[in-house]
Amino acid sequence: MSVNLLILLAPLAGALTAGLLGRHIGRSAAIGATIVGMLISAALAIHVFFNVAVGDGPVIHEEVFSWIVSGKFAVHFGLLIDRMTAIMLIVVSGISTLIHIYSIGYMAEDPDEPRFFSYLSLFTFAMLALVTADNFLQLFFGWEGVGLASYLLIGFWYRKESACNAAIKAFLVNRVGDFGFALGIFTIFMIFGTLDYDQVFHMAGRKEFQSTVNFLFFGPVDTITLICLLLFIGAMGKSAQFLLHTWLPDAMEGPTPVSALIHAATMVTAGVFMVCRASPLFELSPTALGVVTIVGAVTALFAATVGLVQNDIKKVIAYSTCSQLGYMFFAAGVSAYAAAMFHLMTHAFFKALLFLSAGAVIHAMHHEQDMRRMGGLIKKIPMTYGVMMIGTLALTGFPFLAGFYSKDAILESAYAAHSAVGTFAWLMGMLAAVLTTFYSFRLVFMTFHGKPVDLHAYGHAHEAPWSMRGPLVLLAVGAVFAGVIGAPMIEAHWFKEAIVVAPGHEALEHAHHVPGWVKWLPFVAFLVGLTVAWLMYVRLPTLPGIMAETFRKTYRFLVNAWYFDRLYDWMFVNMAKKIGDGLWRTGDVTIIDGFGVNGAAATCARVAEWLRSIQSGYIYHYAFVMVIGVLVLVTVYT
């Protein structure tokens, strides 16, 4: 047991204290316990970060205790902190601490505050267990643990039907992803006989493991490709990628600090982290990398198109998150893992900032989330406006803010990959960049500019308390400087052994040498997006309505997020219910019980009835039968 373990255990202790004793020790003590836990965790995380990532300290790797042992199968809980984990520790512990503090103000009027803080800390514990794992099963422990916390927090306001449904949806869609993830783990064990990262990554490169395996009706499949694709299905669920993205917008039913922490900064990036962590495997499978790139690129554009037309302030940011995660994936897909991690880190700051600023807006507007009912708030909450603008500029890649460094690195890597999928991703990414700028400024303009719509709410709008503004300012600082400070991450071999890049896959290194126009194009995209947004929402505010009328079908298609929800509802939810009902009423009740069990019973009863009827008790009946019997016997034997 080392003191480093406290990084995880302190939040867990806080969660248990607030959750189990919350009602006995009172509100402030419960919240205090979680915040103390978070502060301990964050302080230690910073300490470790300076040792491992800033300094040149050795990788921390300890075995904590033996978990499951069954024959050859042996898995333990471990603690692995290399540079990749160190970055995640800072992001998770740091942002979680800020969000705990922010929540003091945001949740002040909620009677269930201790429960809220308990869940937040529980989430942090699970997320930290995920990033410090040294084997795939512990990763899976954290993976499902954050899923539980997410489920609990989305459904935090359990009186609301919609919140409960969103929570279940999040859990189930993630389970579909985990279905693939679990199969991936089984395959890893089948091939390598272990789940430890060290051993698996070490063996994967060897010739004898580069074989094929028969998988269902697919016939022989390359082993490593199979493993990577199965793991990636899990990542698609957790990181809300195209086809498994439907839960993320609904997850906005949770309180806004939750959206910021779980559904923007940390949990949803777990998939990206996993792919980067497993880079020694993905590097061996060009097919898997291609799939990752395409799925990421499609998600980046798809989510951005839907974000264009959303009116709920949180939904815009949710789709934006989905889109940005797509960027991270296609970065990993072109082997620019360092750029993916870099964008993960900068995104955590500016997206948490955007969500929390949106939270401050919602707070100011008394729980109004529809941007059509806002407007002109710049005069009422100028500070919120300021930080939100910083977040927006950081997201849209305004020069020298965080996103400028990381997003450009991704786009340039995709271009420099010089492969068909790389170029495809680059194109999608460029288009998405224009859309990103458009919807981000649309949000700002609709919310802060123009004239107030709801005069009553506008009249009462006020700046948030300091507990909320403090974290906003700190995150804004992060959103400005995370890019400059983090830029060394994408230099050669900063991650050391944590990331493996196969020879010929050095897209990130080539990214420095792309032509000038490729470097400038994202800025052009920014200008285009900004101009269009300004035209439509400041200069000619009637234009959006006219356009929605003119291109009615396209508009409906986008507003309904390409009709995925309706399709899935019909295809899975209703089908499952219908089939379940059919199996029950027809299968169990009619066939098995009707014909089988009760049928057999009824037959028995009929036979018994007949047998009873011949035992009439009348002597002459018996005598008659006897006579007949004697006659038959005599006839037969003579």
């Binding site: 033996s66 024959g71 199969l183 089984f186 269902l216 098995i592």
Partner: protein
């Protein structure tokens, strides 16, 4: 020692039956003390048990009707020990859970439960096939009474269905037992394990045993007695039914079918995988649509036992160990879920899901406990359900990828019906009629605490449990890999 653990409850039952008149409180306390002492004694078994050996331990043998080859033989190995402990552990829990809910014929109820305990523990300890059969059948009587006397409105139908279903299977098992005994000249279980049988004979005997064990598990399509039995049984009856009786069928596979009939076992593996997969998916979908809380959990039991039978017949370490662990887990989790239903049934006298809603407002502690067991049921890592389910699926994947893939969909469906049920019962606005409910009482809390501890203990540190049967499982797998038919030819 083994006989003491086995027959102490029956002795207690006799004493209560004869000695206690018109004093229900005394009957309750006496039953609790007897079952409690039995549990403590069974812990001594654990203490004295050597997990490093696969041999049967605590052996007892004495002639019974030697003229007919009948002996009283008892003994346990690493496979039977966990089930003995599960039984002795759950019985006091059941008795405590019936403290207030059972008010008529209290004495007779307690007598029935203690008698049941003796028969069930006996089933797990018997090393003579005839003794096993007698106890197996004897157990039906108290269970029949528990459902038929203390059950719900439709109890007679349910009790008859339970009884007849089981009996039909048992008759075929009796034929199989006699055939084996006569062929081998002994009913001793260890001797039968080593006796070679021809393949055709093995197949017929396997089918005979299968008829009985598959009903008990229950496997699809002979599962329809279970939902009815659960719905009508009193809470404690459901707990014992789900917690222990269902395990007897799977135990039968482990003790008889696999080691005694290894060649037939290998023949039937595809059939069992097939039926189990149908059970997992089919009953999960059916569970989704249930309107009665108990029926939903009953169907989920069938689905979970489908995982268990897959695990046992993977015939590899991970699968079999996962299967055994999952039986224990299911005993804990399904038992707890039925107790949880009992808690609200005692208050509202309904089990209809639509009548609940918003329980969390009045019963926050209850909601928390319910959440933990729901998560254990859906196999969230950190709970016991995960460890068992994961090992089973891993074993299944090693045995057959297709089986594992289909079975894993059950994990998604399991989450669907459990979470949807939880939402409708616990979350939402306060439902009329729920507004005056009291949270769990101290007595109820005492019931849940040990079960909660086990959920997390096995979830985070399953080692002591897995080690208990590890060596025995290895031995079993060795037996399963023997080609008995070949041995015949050599002779």
């Amino acid at each position: 020692m083994l006989s003491l653990v086995t027959f102490l409850p029956l002795f207690g039952a006799l004493v209560i039956a004869v000695g206690v008149h018109n004093r229900p409180a005394l009957a309750r306390w006496a039953a609790l003390v007897v079952s409690g002492v039995t549990f403590l004694l069974s812990l001594l078994l654990l203490e004295g048990f050597d997990p490093g050996s696969h041999a049967f331990q605590f052996l007892e043998e004495s002639p019974w009707l030697p003229g007919y080859g009948l002996y009283y033989r008892m003994g346990i190995d690493g496979i039977s020990l966990p089930f003995v402990l599960l039984t002795t552990f759950l019985t006091p829990v059941c008795i405590l859970s019936s403290w207030e809910s059972v008010q008529k014929y209290v004495k007779e109820y307690m007598v029935a439960f203690l008698a049941l305990e003796t028969f069930v523990v006996g089933v797990f300890c018997a090393l003579d096939f005839i003794l096993f059969y007698i106890l197996w059948e004897a157990m039906l009587i108290p269970m029949f009474l528990i459902i038929g006397v203390w059950g719900g409105p439709n109890r007679i139908y349910a009790a008859m269905k339970f009884f007849l279903y089981t009996l039909v299977g048992s008759v075929l098992m009796l034929v199989a037992v006699l055939a084996m005994g006569i062929k081998a000249g002994t009913f001793s279980i260890p001797a039968l394990m080593d006796h070679p049988f021809s393949l055709v004979f093995q197949i017929w005997v396997f089918l005979g045993l299968f008829a009985s064990f598959s009903v008990k598990v229950p496997m699809w399509p002979v599962h329809t007695w279970l939902p009815d039995a659960h719905v009508e049984a009193p809470t404690a009856g459901s707990v014992i039914l789900a917690g222990i009786l269902l395990k007897m069928g799977a135990y039968g596979f482990l003790r008889f079918s696999i080691p005694m009939l290894p060649d037939a076992t290998r023949v039937f593996v595809p059939l069992i995988f097939g039926l189990s997969l149908v059970a997992i998916v089919y009953t999960a979908l059916v569970a989704l649509m249930q309107k009665d809380l108990k029926k939903l959990i009953a169907y989920s039991s069938v689905s979970h036992m489908g995982f268990v039978t897959i695990g046992l017949f993977t015939l590899n370490e991970q699968g079999v160990e996962g299967g055994i662990l999952q039986m224990i887990n299911h005993g804990i989790v399904a038992g707890a879920l039925f107790l949880l239903v009992g808690v609200v049934y005692d208050r509202l006298h309904t089990r209809e899901i639509a009548r609940f809603g918003g329980l969390v407002h009045r019963m926050p502690v209850y909601a928390l406990i319910f959440m933990v067991f729901t998560m254990a049921s859906v196999g969230l890592p950190g709970t016991n359900g995960f460890v068992g389910e994961f090992l089973i699926l891993l074993g299944a994947y090693l045995a057959s990828k297709g089986v594992a893939v289909v079975a894993t969909t059950g994990v998604v469906l399991g989450a669907a019906y459990m979470l949807w049920m939880y939402k409708r019962v616990v979350f939402g606005e306060i439902h009329d009629g729920v507004s005056t409910l009291l949270d769990v009482s101290k007595r109820e809390l005492i019931l849940f605490v040990p079960l909660l501890i086990l959920v997390f203990w096995i979830g985070f540190y399953p080692k002591p449990f897995l080690e208990m049967f590890h060596v025995s499982v290895q031995h079993l797998l060795q037996q399963a890999s023997v080609v008995k038919v070949g041995a015949m030819v050599v002779k």
